[in-house]
Symmetry: C2
Subunit: 472 residues, 2 copies
């Protein structure tokens, strides 16, 4: 390529592209001004202007637009954009917003939308409807589509069966590349979005896969059996979606065959349906550890309240335990109220050290880095980190208290209490989630209540206990 080529096209910085884009900011979020412009057009009854603004947007962006619109403006927006808000937009929509919108529709409308989607997206569209609404929608669907969706609904929620598409390309291993290509060109009815061809035995068991790039690069006379990869990751149809996501990630899959309990190929999962699950599952630990439930900002307020208040009530109970520990030392506190001022430091920093260990352990378990092979090593690692942290913080607070309050005894007491509590916090932070995991529970769900109780109670107990023992 010559220099003149470059000159022919005036160079422009990506920044410039973004600056010209009055729709997105640099992180692909819709600009508030753009959202306002569309909503104002709708409010003014100027549907045509709104439609023009939105016409060129990707379905994912139109879904964002609907989510960003205030709840009471969504109905009018969708009405104004009739035809533009298509099935793909609904497939991209946040599930709570989608439920709201779908609830307002006639069963026939929902059925028409579902008919335009892959089975997995159609299932997502109607799986959360009330039983009777779901039935009404299914009745309004074409028999073929209905059968596919009904079959998918027989699989448990959040399993491979719900995620998979039934449209896939499966060929016998005695075919040649030329036959495969001719077959693909032969019919418009075949799947359009696929990245691998599955090779099956006569009784429809997967025996290998062929990447499309391999097929394209091989002469027509090549046997499929010569170029297929015989090793492949099979997904049992009842596998939980979190484990499906881990398989895709671990083995860098683009698509994978789903098999039923007798090992027959029943569907295919593609990576684009998995990326949002990977993100959700990885992101949910912070929500679970804090007791924020689903943590979706579109969740109905009452559900959010219920999820969070349950957790706060549990926390209230553990706080009461810590409170009872303190009440055992009321005499000491009455004699020396500075103890009351200092004790939250020991509990608080300990709680933080526990949370750190907890976060690391929960993530390591979730990403399969921490297994039965290395858990004692992880515990030993946390003990050493806790010792180092504990000594550092203990020295800092010990010297500080000694200097400011002029009491070496008090300084020593708080330093010892701090060291103890940070080490206890480290132990609890790693052992509690490992124990819950071993017991078959999700370590992210209940760990932090236990760990906080330990760090609070121990913090108060050790500090006030040592202070009493030291005759303070």
């Amino acid at each position: 390529m010559s220099d003149s080529d470059i000159i022919a096209t005036p160079p422009h910085e990506p920044e410039a592209v973004h600056a010209e884009d009055r729709i997105h900011d640099e992180e692909d979020r819709l600009l508030p001004a753009f959202v306002r412009e569309v909503l104002d057009a709708v409010a003014d009854g100027d549907d045509e202007a709104a439609r023009e603004l939105v016409a060129e947007l990707h379905p994912a962006d139109i879904a964002d637009l609907i989510e960003l619109a205030p709840g009471d403006e969504r109905g009018d927006l969708i009405e104004a954009l009739a035809g533009i808000v298509d099935a793909d937009v609904y497939a991209e929509l946040n599930e709570y917003v989608r439920e709201d919108v779908i609830d307002e529709m006639e069963p026939q409308q929902v059925a028409d939308l579902a008919a335009q989607l892959d089975t997995d997206d159609a299932v997502a569209l109607i799986e959360d409807l009330e039983q009777d609404e779901q039935l009404a929608v299914l009745r309004a669907m074409e028999p073929d589509d209905r059968a596919a969706v009904e079959e998918a609904l027989t699989y448990g929620e959040e399993t491979a069966g719900r995620l998979m598409q039934r449209d896939l390309i499966a060929v016998p291993e005695h075919w040649k590349v030329g036959q495969v290509i001719d077959y693909l060109r032969s019919s418009d009815e075949l799947a359009t979005d696929f990245w691998e061809v599955f090779v099956v035995s006569p009784n429809h068991h997967p025996v290998g896969t062929c990447k499309l790039s391999t097929i394209l690069r091989s002469p027509r006379s090549t046997l499929v059996s010569e170029i297929m990869a015989r090793k492949q990751t099979l997904i049992p149809v009842d596998l939980d979606q979190e484990e499906v996501a881990l398989k895709f990630q671990k083995y860098a899959l683009i698509s994978a065959a789903v098999v039923d309990s007798s090992g027959r190929l029943v569907g295919m999962i593609t990576v684009d349906d998995i990326v949002h699950i990977i993100q959700e599952e990885a992101g949910e630990d912070v929500l679970l550890l804090s007791g924020a439930g689903e943590g979706d900002i579109n969740e109905p307020l009452v559900d959010t309240y219920k999820a969070r208040v349950r957790w706060l009530a549990a926390n209230l109970l553990t706080a009461l335990v810590a409170s009872m520990v303190i009440s055992q030392f009321e005499n000491a506190i009455e004699r020396m109220a500075v103890l009351a001022a200092l004790m939250p430091i020991v509990a608080g920093v300990g709680g933080n050290a526990g949370t750190q260990t907890l976060a690391v352990t929960v993530r390591a378990i979730a990403t399969n880095q921490l297994t039965g092979s290395n858990h004692w090593r992880a515990v030993w690692r946390e003990i050493r980190v806790a010792m180092m942290n504990g000594l550092t913080i203990a020295v800092l607070i010990g010297i500080g208290v000694t200097l400011v309050l002029g009491s070496g005894t008090l300084g020593t007491v708080i330093a010892l209490a701090m060291l103890t509590n940070i080490v206890v916090a480290g132990l609890a932070g790693v052992l509690v989630p490992l124990g819950l995991e071993k017991a078959g529970a999700d370590p992210a769900v209940a760990s932090s209540v236990f760990v906080t109780m330990v760090t609070d109670s121990m913090g108060f107990l050790v500090f006030l206990g040592l202070a009493t023992a030291a005759g303070l």
Copy 2:
């Protein structure tokens, strides 16, 4: 398909498959017994047995095996598995473990490994080496590979330029499908792993893409320009990897073209290189919020210590602020030590409420659900949730304290303090991360220190202040 087909293959449950697999557990993790068996064989000097055990494993599993081995057994393990531990295994290895292992190798060995990898994996292999080691490895590489890696290294860390592969298929739009297929079959030198063909203008600007499935399903005489998708997501070469990941997720991309500042096609990123980034970025919020730094269990101990102790020291400072608040009320506490026992309840539950709001807000910002268009709505939502939570918990603790301690005044004081602190916590939990985001900082990094300081100090201040005002 007839029933006899099914009978011909005895049905077997996926569970049965797992039970027979003595290598993996049901979540694809290597079984501890298997890891031990391999390591024992290596320790006994029986390399042949170890190699046989490992021979059939996927590179990702061999990488797991090396990570799960204790640090002092890794060297012998890798030596025993020479030839089996290939470049793909190194590409899959945890970065800290890889650094350890690479550090022990000669530059020529590293160069040989890098030569077998795609540019992005080769870059990952050597980007963390010390300057002089990196130079030694580069010098040992073939000129072509070296140039590609050196070019990649000119882009910033964690940018698209580091992630992209240079091997891609680009064709002019006037070609026919038959020409594309012939071109792909013409040379063994072309890329093997690709899912789309990029269509470029004469000056190498992307003008469209063609999915391989579309090419395969179209007659040879079809013009590429007729079947290509003209809308495509272009990735600027200097885009941060987190934003690359968000683009892949939002637009469900399988691969995407990377363009330089003049808009020319310079590389391609595929989704399999992105899934681990999506997972890392989504999972890091819990680590950042807890101040656990990288939070990798393979990180050198000293780095872990440094990251965490810095955070604990910051926490110590905020705890001191809370402590000073308490010390203003020492007289009240000396008169009535039960105040000291009750005050951590107000601070603790408030802290929890703040953490919940914080987690939800940080995730909503990270997933681009919370933008300038809906942030006030989110704040208002959190205020309402906080009011509901605050009233519930305030009633519970108010009645409890009144009954147990027999003081309606104390019950009222703690109920009011609890309500106030939970509402303040909710406000801080949503306003602090939104403010940091607005200021261009990562809301996950510093939010929790601020929020904890607010909930602790406010909890003590309101409770002890009200108690004093009530004459307790």
